[in-house]
């Protein structure tokens, strides 16, 4: 079994390789006249070289006992996952539902779904956060927030 640094460096090597390959079509140019792909190409190359170095160091560390440690072990990792999904859904529905409604729903969900609060806290928290942020950003700072289904 590979250890944490071996796995992460292998992933970075792959990312570096992708950058390197996909920068070639942009044109590398010549040393006296570097092209659009010049910088990303050498950046990708540097990433591959550095991740190889990290992998080698991690391999040396493995011999001295550095093992795979599950980074999620002993954590409540489901909570950040739920929050991340909720944020994504919010971003997708924000334009359609409008800022006030989408924000109230998101705050209500986060208050109830992550570390469950009393319903009174959930309702008041969702309503107040949505309203106060709307007043501050839309009314005072003139930020253009989506009106959505409440546009009338």
């Amino acid at each position: 079994m590979f250890n944490n640094d071996q796995i992460s460096s292998a992933a970075w090597f792959f990312i570096g390789l992708l950058i390197l390959i996909f920068s070639i079509p942009y044109g590398l140019g010549e040393v006296h006249s570097p092209g659009t792909g010049f910088m990303p190409f050498y950046t990708g190359l540097a990433m591959c070289a550095l991740s190889a170095l990290i992998f080698m160091e991690a391999t040396r560390a493995k011999k001295s006992g550095a093992k795979w440690e599950n980074p999620l072990k002993g954590t409540l990792w489901v909570k950040p996952l739920i929050a991340l999904v909720a944020l994504t859904v919010y971003a997708l529905l924000m334009d359609k539902l409008g800022f006030i409604l989408a924000t109230a729903l998101l705050v209500g969900f986060l208050l109830r779904g992550i570390h469950p609060q009393k319903w009174s806290v959930v309702i008041v928290g969702a309503f107040l956060t949505s309203l106060v942020t709307y007043l501050v950003f839309q009314v005072w700072l003139k930020t253009q927030l989506p009106a959505g289904i409440l546009s009338f």
Partner: protein
């Protein structure tokens, strides 16, 4: 004499009622951010950045600067009363500050930290006033090769001081350079890696990336932990330190100010490194080092002074060379650009009102902070009692609004969420985000300097070594990279205090 006239001009800017108001809002938000664990100055500044587009550039920069140095003041409160640093630069204050609170001396601990911060902040402003203009004059002589080497040296120093190993930090910097290259190639006019997304034509937005890596990732990291925290119940009395406290603290404050200033100017330097260094030096010079960690007032006075001094000094490389030395200054870099100001040696000449107005506002802001921190300490303690499960949805909503309001686009929000996830994973595998941000900001400038140098010299790479300043900077970078390869030196490097993610 010229400085005095410029400073008077700066005060005429800073004393305008609206500027005073924005300075006050900045230090107030900064103190709040510093007090609240889980929301650092980087996230706070980046999420308020889009909102500043509605105000003048001078007021915007003054307010954002207020948040930064205000957070340094506020961070000490949670360290002393909760043993939880409100922001990363206050970690070391926990050691003696919390012990002082446990011994019934929370008042003097909070008092000396506020006064020390005030003295250090003021001294650093004087230093900045004296150092920045001549440094900017010198930087005017820099050509593309010097800028290329300066950025390489700066990035190397940042990675040298980063947590989690130098190769990992360099890898993050390389990835940051790639992210910075997304969008328009300014020399050729072609676009790259935009995936046909119009929002990416002008490049990947700095604000959504920072809010993702520092704001959202921080919240996600906190959510997976247990939320239990308790405030040490103590009566906070005698905020004014006694004469004995002053006698013990005055030299640590001066030493901390001095150390903080010099570390703050260095690329990769900042509050955290300054506090650890000043604490270590204080312990070494103390006649009773055994009392450190047991509630020694010097252990609070020196690091608290150092972090404030460093936070002011970090503005110097940004405003004179156009090189942000840490992630917070990278956001200021973005803020100046968003307001049509080019950070660099011409900034002081072309926008003296901004530069001297900022310096004058720092004097005023320091006085405001003193007034805010001491009499309102009870209020800050009450705010500390707001449970994190209620606080975090508000932080996330601020991040979402901040990202959306940049271009009124959901794409920016999605970018922020993606980088929130990336930041969370990076933390899990012990990769630091700060070098990534700095490289992303400096990437376009580095690329332009490199390509211009090569174009001018028809591909002759020796230009970087034949020009003296460029050669010195590159040699420093090479030394920094090779030091960890020498086994004996590697052990010594490992003992150097590291700059953490300043979320």
């Amino acid at each position: 004499m010229e400085y005095v006239a410029s400073l008077i001009n700066g005060f005429s800017v800073a004393f305008q009622p609206t500027t005073l108001l924005f300075c006050f809002i900045g230090v107030l938000i900064g103190t709040l951010v510093g007090v609240l664990p889980g929301l650092g100055p980087v996230a706070a500044i980046s999420l308020l950045l889009p909102a500043t587009l509605a105000i003048t550039p001078v007021n915007a920069i003054i307010m954002l600067a207020g948040i930064y140095y205000g957070a340094m003041y506020g961070g000490s409160t949670t360290s002393i009363l909760l043993n939880i640093p409100g922001e990363a630069a206050s970690v070391i204050t926990c050691l003696d500050g919390y012990q002082m609170a446990r011994k019934g001396r929370a008042g003097p601990a909070l008092g000396i930290s506020a006064f020390g911060s005030f003295i250090a902040g003021t001294l650093a402003i004087v230093g900045m006033m004296l150092v920045a203009p001549p440094l900017a004059e010198m930087a005017l002589k820099f050509g593309p090769p010097e800028y290329f080497s300066l950025i390489i040296c700066g990035l190397t120093l940042v990675t040298f001081l980063a947590k989690g190993g130098m190769w990992k930090a360099l890898l993050m910097a390389a990835f940051g350079l790639f992210l910075g290259s997304i969008g328009m190639d300014t020399l050729m006019g072609a676009t790259r890696f935009t995936l046909d997304i119009p929002e990416l034509t002008d490049g990947l937005g700095l604000v959504p990336v920072i809010m993702g890596l520092f704001g959202v990732a921080e919240v996600l990291g906190n959510l997976e932990k247990s939320m239990e925290r308790s405030i040490f119940e103590t009566k906070i009395t005698n905020l004014l330190p006694t004469l004995k406290d002053w006698a013990a603290s005055i030299f640590p404050i001066l030493r901390g100010s001095f150390i903080g200033f010099f570390i703050g100017v260095l690329p990769g330097g900042g509050g955290i490194l300054a506090t650890f260094t000043s604490y270590a030096i204080e312990k070494r010079v103390s006649k009773h080092p055994e009392s450190f960690g047991e509630g020694a007032i010097e252990g609070v006075a020196s690091p608290e002074s150092a972090n404030n001094s460093a936070s002011t000094a970090t503005f110097i490389p940004l405003l004179t060379l156009g090189i942000p030395p840490n992630a917070t200054m990278a956001i200021f870099f973005g803020a100046l650009m968003m307001h049509g100001l080019q950070p660099g040696p011409l900034l002081i000449k072309e926008h003296p009102d901004m530069f001297w107005g900022l310096i004058a506002s720092m004097y005023i802001g320091n006085i405001m902070l003193l007034a805010l921190n001491l009499p309102l300490i009870g209020l800050w303690v009450k705010i500390l009692k707001v449970p994190y499960p209620i606080l975090f949805p508000v932080i996330l909503i601020f991040c979402l609004i901040g990202a959306y309001s940049l271009n009124n686009s959901v794409v920016e929000v999605m970018i922020m969420i993606i980088f929130g996830f990336v930041g969370y994973i990076l933390r899990k595998f012990k990769y630091e985000a700060a070098p990534l941000i700095l490289a992303m900001v400096l990437g376009p400038r580095l690329e332009t300097a490199l390509r211009r140098s090569l174009l001018l010299q028809q591909g002759d790479m020796t230009i970087f070594f034949t020009r003296p300043i460029s050669a010195i900077l590159l040699i420093v970078a090479i030394i920094l990279i090779t030091v960890p390869l020498v086994p004996k030196l590697r052990k010594k490097v490992a003992t150097v205090p590291k700059e953490d993610d300043p979320s």
